[in-house]
Amino acid sequence: MTNPSKFEDHSRRLLAFIERGSGLDETEFSASATELFALQFAHVAPYRRLCEARRVTPDSLPGWRQIPAMPTTAFKELELTSLAPAERTAVFHSSGTTGHLPSRHFHNARSLAVYEASLLSWFERHIAPAALVGRDSVEPHMERSAASISGAVTLSQESRFVRTSSVGSWGSKESRPAILCLAPPPEQAPHSSLVHMFAAVSREFGSQASRFLATVAPDNSWSLDFAAALAALRHAEQAAQPPVLLGTAFMFVHLLDALAQDGLSITLPPGSRVMETGGYKGRSREVPKAELHALLTSRLSIPRTHLVCEYGMSELSSQAYDRVAGSPTILSPLSSLFSFPPWARAVVISPETGREVAEGETGLLRIFDLANVRSVMAIQTEDLAVRRGEGFELLGRASHSESRGCSLLA
């Protein structure tokens, strides 16, 4: 049996941080991270073995940045959780290609509550319609972003993160937007952390008109219900009620392709917004991000400023966003700056040396997510990113297919 009381202490403190909305300073983050590391070292056996092989133990840890990171691929092979089998009430799988083992992230009710608190809070900050939360609340984040780019990061983490509203208080019931999810409903995709997230934000922030607009096909792929999507979009257009569209890049491609096939465009009302996440993995034609965004603007009348990219994965409990909906372009139309909430930190690691890269350099993204309570907090991704201030610019998955030689099999 694991030691639930200590995990509970951590969860409670983290929820208080999230609720408080004032962020964590370096000391708080460090204390919380090292404490969680000690717990996970003690209670996640395969993780402990990795740490011991690297000769890092809670007693010898120099700082939170040295906490050993677990590669995402290890979640396919090992059960990286402190939850005993009987305690696990949910498991999220990565959306890997068919025939490969998926990553598994186990949860119980309490860890799911932490996941939801984390995702709701940061989603609200980035996707909430500015009209409802007021311009003032948006500005601190914009200021941070601008400061990061100039390299003159002067605002402390504390002052940067100002809560706009408490979770669940996004406008009155009547003024809530329809949240249109280009994904199957949770009962059809119980192992998708993304669908769980969509369901949580729909429940918390969405109107009665919110819905899931896809189904799971027999081969486990997601199939867009175009008729339902079109009806929902048309309704939003006619009622002049700006919706929030959530989906993966490949589902947006399906939607745009279907609209194009019928020669249709929808003029969504001002304030409509899109949250787009994830790659393609061969499930639709690949469309460069700039082109996808241009199509969203031309087919759905959603301006670039209201297209928000999200970065997340089943192995994490927190997500990063590249803009606050409605804020001006941050870097350039082609690249944008992602940032995690204060309880998760991203560092960019040189693949050559394993050390953090300098500002402006490219490396592999490593995330320390305090909301990953019952699995492993430090996650080594295979995603390439450029270090930019406190945020990062995402370049995408390190390619496995391209090789200078001719000797690699597909």
Partner: protein, 454 residues
Amino acid sequence: MTLPNYYLADLPPEAEMSPALVTDACLALKRNRTQYLAIRDTPSILRTLVRTAEDWLEADYPYRKLALAQGPAHTGFSEPTIATGLDNFFRQLTGENLEALLVQELGTTQRLDAFCASTSDSRTRRTALATGPELVGHITAGCVPNGAFMAIVLGLLTRSAQFIKCARGGAFLPRVFLHSLYGSEPKLGACIEMAEWPGGSAALEEALFAQCDCVTAAGSDQAVEAVRRALPPRVRFAGYGHKVSFGYVTREALTGWRAKKIVTAAATDVIAWDQLGCLSPHVFYVEDNTAGLALQFAGQLAAELERREAAEPRGKISTETAAHIAARRAIYDVRAAHAPEQTRHWCSPDSTAWTVVYESEPRFAVSCANRFIYVKPVLDVAEALRGADPVRDHTSTVGLAAQEHEMEGLVKQFARWGATRLCPVGQMQNPPLTWRHDGRPLMADLVRWTDWEP
């Protein structure tokens, strides 16, 4: 020394290639061939090739110096890696080897010059003449230049005009070789064209294929198949899809006096062209029972790679490629911590320069190249072949380290299984000039025979 703008591949990268440009180049090549190349005889071609090869082996040959000075920036290989690779190739390019090649492929050395008879022809009272195609198109792949070098040699032997299309970033060394030929014999150089464009540029390739009477292509199976489909029916085709190679080391070899030499030789195979060739090993299978021979071999190989890194450094790689290696290492880091008896790994400190992974799982593993090698223990050949079964149709070379009395049994098993080349460990990336590429004749796809029954 700078290379003059003579070939299409010399044009700056921003220069726009057009189908008309390709067609014009092909027509010029054919005219030049008629004037300068078709009239040449085999001995004179051999003299040119041998002289050029001898030049390339001289330390102060300007083209060699250029290749070594600018090669690292263009190709990503370090200077010592390029030097070793060039030496290996040009040492093979001797008159004796070229004549052996002609006899192997055509029965006699004069086949391309006059009607003549091989021993078997004499028995049937027949003579024959071989004629090369007017224009051969070569689609080469990757950054290891040997394929393009060999294409040029074979094309000259058959007195064919040639258009060589290199992969992006793969043109530099073949281009310098071509300039060296042009430097010694401009008229020969005028019968060969070289260009670089991204594979699958349909309009350019259509223009090229329309002019060729024979096309060779190397690359991924899909790329080769795409070329084949794009060819007009009259064009002859020789395709070389992607291949992998591995080594096999016997227990007896490792317990014998040559054990240390085998480790050095294995490292040579990993280091050659930074393991990026089709003939580079992905895995060394090592016979082992419980003696820990494979584990010991892996550790020694790591030490040897580390030692050699100083004098023969791995080339510069992109962040993406380094990330790929780092991600792969991370997997083995976890596995090694979890089950150290099944997985061990050795990594170059503070870099991705070399990696050795010992894995008890015998299933073949495709390495991420750039000096990343697997060592896997097996009981015997049968277990190795079962492990390598997924790449059976893609296997080129098996490097062997065994005692002499074991060899005969081994080579038969590997040959029956499907390997097309068996050689000593240490020579995997250094095939002889007469190597039957992927187990096929070298010139049969190029020449047209005329039999004369008097």
